[in-house]
């Protein structure tokens, strides 16, 4: 294992300390670990997200004006615990409630739900929206369902802007759910990655192999194949996303009228000719930005062939898996509301415009 670390046991804390030194507008807290934008969300909905570390800049890099109020990092590839989201929630609550944005991994979902219960016991209103946009997984009936990928970044951006515009908690939760069903993603890996605590690669992959449909913790994808060209890889990922059929699954959400968690059936969109989308071409960590441009060019071509127009794009490192080489593609169908909120000013370590 070759890593720029001091001690494998302490990486999360050391890296959080460094994050705090680098960004003076962000406060870093330990025991429990979380980061928050300086100053509470006064008279507006507060946004809290989080997940395992190792996906930077997700989520701490998206804390700041116009995006998240707080982020809760777990250990590398391990979900954060409810005490983190509980303390972060109390810190940033501005009296209008909290929206939790949660990627669909069993640990993340359960820990955020418990935190929501604890906050509610303190009289703080919480909504909890799950992002499950990974089209690599076709079936949800006998699994924990599709995983959360790049749509998370767009949801955090759009909902952050909505909070500043004065959306109330139910409106912002509805918006977040809309972004989720408008977004589809898929990733692939050329190499594995190594978590500091394990010290050995998360999975084995041959020099001439690639894994299509990889998860951000190195979970198996849909297919292990001989390595292909950038154009062929992009064609595969983009086609899976653009031709993905409507996906129906059961998601758990808080019902404030019933005062209980309820299961709700949710169906996402399919892309149609004439759609306008926000596209993310994301490095899994080890793939250089230069290679992402090759992917982006092909993506624009494939989308165009489907009559889908990319109206905004992000090309770079947005939701990574340590040093894994590979790429993920996200397409989020826009409408006037999503595009207006996406274009609104944002000032975070990893996303900044209009300021």
């Amino acid at each position: 294992m070759k890593k720029l670390i001091n001690n494998a046991e302490d990486v999360t804390v050391e890296q959080l300390k460094g994050f705090g030194v680098a960004y003076k507008d962000i406060e870093v807290h330990f025991d429990p670990n979380y980061v928050n934008a300086t100053g509470a969300a006064k008279d507006r909905v507060a946004l809290v997200s989080g997940g395992g570390s190792g996906h930077e800049p997700l989520h701490g890099g998206y804390v700041g004006m116009g995006m998240l109020d707080a982020a809760c990092p777990g250990q590398v590839f391990t979900s954060p615990t409810p005490d983190q989201m509980y303390e972060a929630g109390k810190m940033v609550n501005g009296g209008k409630g909290i929206l939790q944005i949660v990627k669909n991994y069993t640990g993340d979902v359960l820990n955020f739900q418990m935190a929501a219960d604890l906050l509610r016991d303190d009289g703080i209103e919480v909504r909890n929206v799950i992002i499950d946009d990974d089209v690599a997984l076709k079936d949800s009936l006998y699994t924990a369902g599709r995983r959360g990928l790049g749509t998370t970044v767009i949801a955090e951006k759009v909902c952050g802007a909505a909070s500043l515009e004065g959306y109330d908690l139910d409106q912002i939760a509805a918006l977040c759910k809309k972004v989720n069903i408008h977004g589809k993603s898929m990733g692939m890996a050329l190499t594995s990655c190594t978590t500091p605590q394990n010290g050995t690669p998360t999975f084995d992959i041959g020099e001439d192999e690639m894994e299509i449909g990889i998860g951000i913790h190195g979970e198996p994808g849909v297919e292990r194949t001989h390595i292909k060209s950038a154009d062929e890889v992009t064609e595969i990922l983009a086609s899976h996303i653009l031709e993905d059929e409507a996906y129906t699954r059961i998601l758990t959400e808080w019902d404030s009228d019933k005062g209980d968690w309820v299961d709700v059936e949710v169906t996402d969109i399919t892309f149609q000719s004439g759609d306008e989308v926000i596209a993310i071409v994301n490095s899994m960590g080890g793939t250089p930005i230069s290679e992402l441009y090759t992917v982006y060019a092909k993506l624009a071509e494939v989308a165009g062939r489907h009559g889908v127009k990319i109206v905004r794009n992000l090309v770079g490192h947005y939701i990574t898996s340590l040093e894994m080489a590979g790429v993920s593609i996200t397409l989020v169908k826009t409408d006037d509301e999503i595009l207006r909120l996406y274009d609104a000013p944002v000032n975070t370590p990893a996303l900044r415009w209009g300021v």
């Binding site: 979900s79 640990g107 739900q113």
Partner: protein
């Protein structure tokens, strides 16, 4: 009813037994740390034993004095929730948290209250995990244990005997997870490849039920 006599006859569980249960759970999970993580390796992320051991070590450190069963179990819940992580933290946390609620202020539990402890704990896990028996989870050990406990206790009103019966049922339930295909958690993504492996969550649950039976029977630690 004289409580000491009742305890001696196996009719009730004292707060001291609840404390011993927690201590024995910590002990057995520490002894089986590596085994549980090895079970987790082919179908999960090879950390279940480490997480449970770390969690229960912290439980012992933070366990309050006294023999209020509800207070003791709630302390277990809150510590596991903050120390275990993954899915096991909130699921076991929910089990102990829900189990603690009807037992607040109770220093002695009747068999009926022990049955209730299992039932409300299991109901919480089912709800939190959106899961039930047959999905290759901790419920495959806990549910048979609870059912066996109730049946055995209704038959002879001896908590010690009923817990021993429950432990055997949990062990059978644990073994029954081997041919199952996982439908929840990270193992579910493996589909048919999850078949043939004993579920680590069902295994730790069996160990915890066994620890309860040992504590009630006064088996030395």
């Amino acid at each position: 009813m004289n409580l000491e006599d009742a305890a001696a006859r196996g009719a009730v569980v004292t707060g001291a037994v609840i404390r011993a249960w927690i201590e024995k759970s910590a002990q057995v999970l520490a002894e089986n740390r590596r085994y549980l993580s090895e079970l987790d390796s082919p179908i999960g992320d090879a950390d279940h034993g480490n997480n449970m051991d770390r969690g229960f070590k912290a439980v012992l450190q933070k366990l309050p004095d006294g023999d209020d069963s509800g207070v003791l179990l709630k302390s277990v819940a809150m510590t596991l929730i903050s120390k275990v992580g993954g899915a096991a933290g909130p699921l076991y946390g929910t089990f102990y948290l829900e189990a603690s609620k009807p037992l607040m202020g109770k220093t002695t539990l009747t068999g009926t209250e022990v049955a209730q402890l299992f039932d409300v704990g299991i109901a919480g896990v089912k709800k939190r995990g959106r899961s039930d028996i047959g999905m290759k989870t901790m419920l495959d050990a806990l549910v048979p244990a609870a059912n066996a406990f109730r049946t055995a206790y209704d038959t002879n009103t001896d908590v010690v005997v009923a817990l021993s019966t429950a432990s055997k049922a949990a062990e059978e339930g644990m073994k029954a997870t081997i041919p199952m295909q996982a439908q929840r958690g990270r193992a579910s993504y493996l589909g048919e490849r999850s078949i043939g492996h004993q579920d680590p969550g069902a295994t730790s649950s069996y160990m915890i039920v066994q620890a309860f039976a040992d504590a009630a029977a006064g088996v030395p630690g």
